[in-house]
Symmetry: C2
């Protein structure tokens, strides 16, 4: 299940403020392009009419606020950064939906499915630019603007995280067409994608005036938890929670042959027969549901799920060690760690 609530360390008042800030920022531009963004973010229907759709996962933005608040930073200063990271995350989702041909996300038709791939690519590009414009525009409004150097640091961190994610995406897509993918390769890609939570934690620290050393440790904390989450997303696609069916996005990932740590483990450690069979399955252009069932059957034999879960636990230890270096109070540490666990466990 995706997490649509309030992370520990924040109040529902704060998350409401965050949702309002996000919505006001997107609504501040009154053109059809932004209606498409509002649709994706769950506020309007395809005709641009207000719609109370199911709440969405906002953990990327919430982590920014969470970290800033652990430092006693002002939420007003952190809000534009939270909006920026949340939009960065959503630009990636809009493009992922085109790349994996997902017809639905959060039980609603995706942008590409409703408006076509050309509009979806364009909407994603727009959200990408909006992510940074939010930092410029909102910081201008506030009375207590951070200094230009820290704005610049935040923007640079956003762009570098985006590049790391693109570097990972390149590999991820390449691995779709390869059978021989190693555990190390999969973990490296998950680390690339983990930089999104890394930059979230980092921006919380920048907004709250943390030291360079603390910001570095926060980045490591966020990256490690983001890496764990990315590995876990694939496990959840393979083994949905009891009583739930796979979502469209989960099916999209499996059938387009995205490789998970569990699959890489079976490819590396399976018997020659197992490996040959996996190779045959992944030679198909697109997998069908029975192929996916056969893959999960094979992974049970190779104990690849247990191996993968151990790797995720290891990354959570890495996140905890990094967080301990930040030097927060015990209670702030605890609350950020519980937040991290919720993020990693949710889809």
């Amino acid at each position: 299940m995706s997490f649509t609530g309030t992370l520990p360390g924040l109040t529902s008042e704060i998350t409401d403020q965050f949702e309002t800030a996000l919505k006001q920022f997107v609504d501040s531009r009154d053109l059809p392009l932004y209606k498409m963004m509002s649709y994706h973010l769950g506020w309007v229907d395809q005709n641009g009419e207000p719609e109370a759709s199911a709440p969405q996962d906002r953990t990327h933005g919430q982590l920014v606020l969470n970290v800033a608040s652990a430092f006693g930073g002002s939420l007003e200063d952190a809000m534009p950064y939270a909006v920026a990271v949340e939009l960065l995350h959503n630009f990636l989702l809009v493009h992922e939906d085109v790349q994996n041909a997902n017809t639905e996300r959060d039980q609603r038709p995706t942008i590409w499915w409703s408006w076509g791939p050309a509009q979806a690519i364009n909407a994603g590009d727009g959200i990408h630019a909006m992510a940074r414009v939010s930092v410029f525009e909102q910081l201008k409004r506030g009375d207590a603007s951070p200094d230009p150097a820290s704005i610049s640091e935040a923007l640079e961190a956003l762009d570098n995280a985006t590049l790391e994610i693109c570097e990972g995406d390149y590999l991820d897509i390449t691995y779709q067409e390869r059978a021989a993918v190693s555990v190390n390769e999969i973990v490296a890609v998950a680390r690339n994608h983990g930089s999104l939570f890394g930059v979230a934690a980092k921006l919380g620290g920048i907004a709250a005036g943390a030291s360079a050393k603390q910001i570095e440790a926060l980045n490591s904390f966020g990256s490690a938890l983001g890496t764990a989450k990315n590995l876990n997303i694939d496990l959840k696609a393979l083994w949905p929670s009891d009583g739930t069916e796979r979502t469209e996005v989960q099916r999209g990932r499996l059938q387009s042959k995205k490789k998970s740590i569990a699959i890489a483990h079976a490819i590396e450690n399976g018997s020659p027969t197992t490996r040959r069979r996996l190779g045959e399955i992944f030679m198909k252009r697109v997998l069908d549901p029975t192929d996916v069932d056969e893959v999960t059957g094979i992974l049970a034999e190779t104990e690849s799920r247990r191996f993968s879960e151990a790797k995720i636990a290891e990354l959570m230890n890495e996140a905890e060690t990094a967080l301990n270096q930040v030097g927060l109070s015990n209670s702030d540490n605890e609350s950020l760690l519980s937040a991290a666990k919720i993020i990693v466990e949710s889809e």
Copy 2:
């Protein structure tokens, strides 16, 4: 023909330096993602091996240098901005190739055609991020770094231009599916896309320390010439220069029913029979070459080409008026105007 030479006001030494700066920046990251970018930019083949491909149009970056040099600004300071604008332009091309399903650009297979749409979307996103990273990274290296406020101004200008272009793209794509598109609507979209040359001229001014008023006038100059160029691109697709065939990109625009100012003029001013016939043609999902011939035949009857050329001349006057407000020397004014003419006339 696309313009691959050196704009008036620059020397071939400077454009060589620019090409080197662009290449060094992309090459500074040694990962497969960047090889795909290098391929798109014409330096390597699909296997990442050096290839001396035909030179490409670099007028976006050159205009930055041109303006900076007219102000007597240091080329070193302007170079990262030139790299940024050139990359911004190229990120848009990579995504346009997916959106219009162009198989070839500059006589070479496009990224999406060679690596698939998922990789092309990702490569474009990466180039988009690189555009701004160049400003951060290269300015750090230089001795004479501009102040953080002007870096911030440049970055904000880049993001706002990108958003304007996305706003225009939204409409441009919508108009593909509509027959009733007005001249004003087409000119408005061309203005949106013109903001790319607007930001090029603006960044040249920022790099050279121009005043706020001058930067505003430079932006108007660049936007007007960019608007004229965008209108002209469509005319050139309709009526290729004597003795040349339509390129793949030109065919892609016409067959995907992108509307030009000439078509909008005929739709607004044609006889009822003409309008009905245009409506029938644009009801097709994709046009074939005989449809395109019929459209150009109709446009000859309605004198839509002459009308469009007059509009372009009007925009060039607008560019000239804006440039006169900058207060440069006569010779610098002349050389920027000749550069503008070359940009508008090339494809």
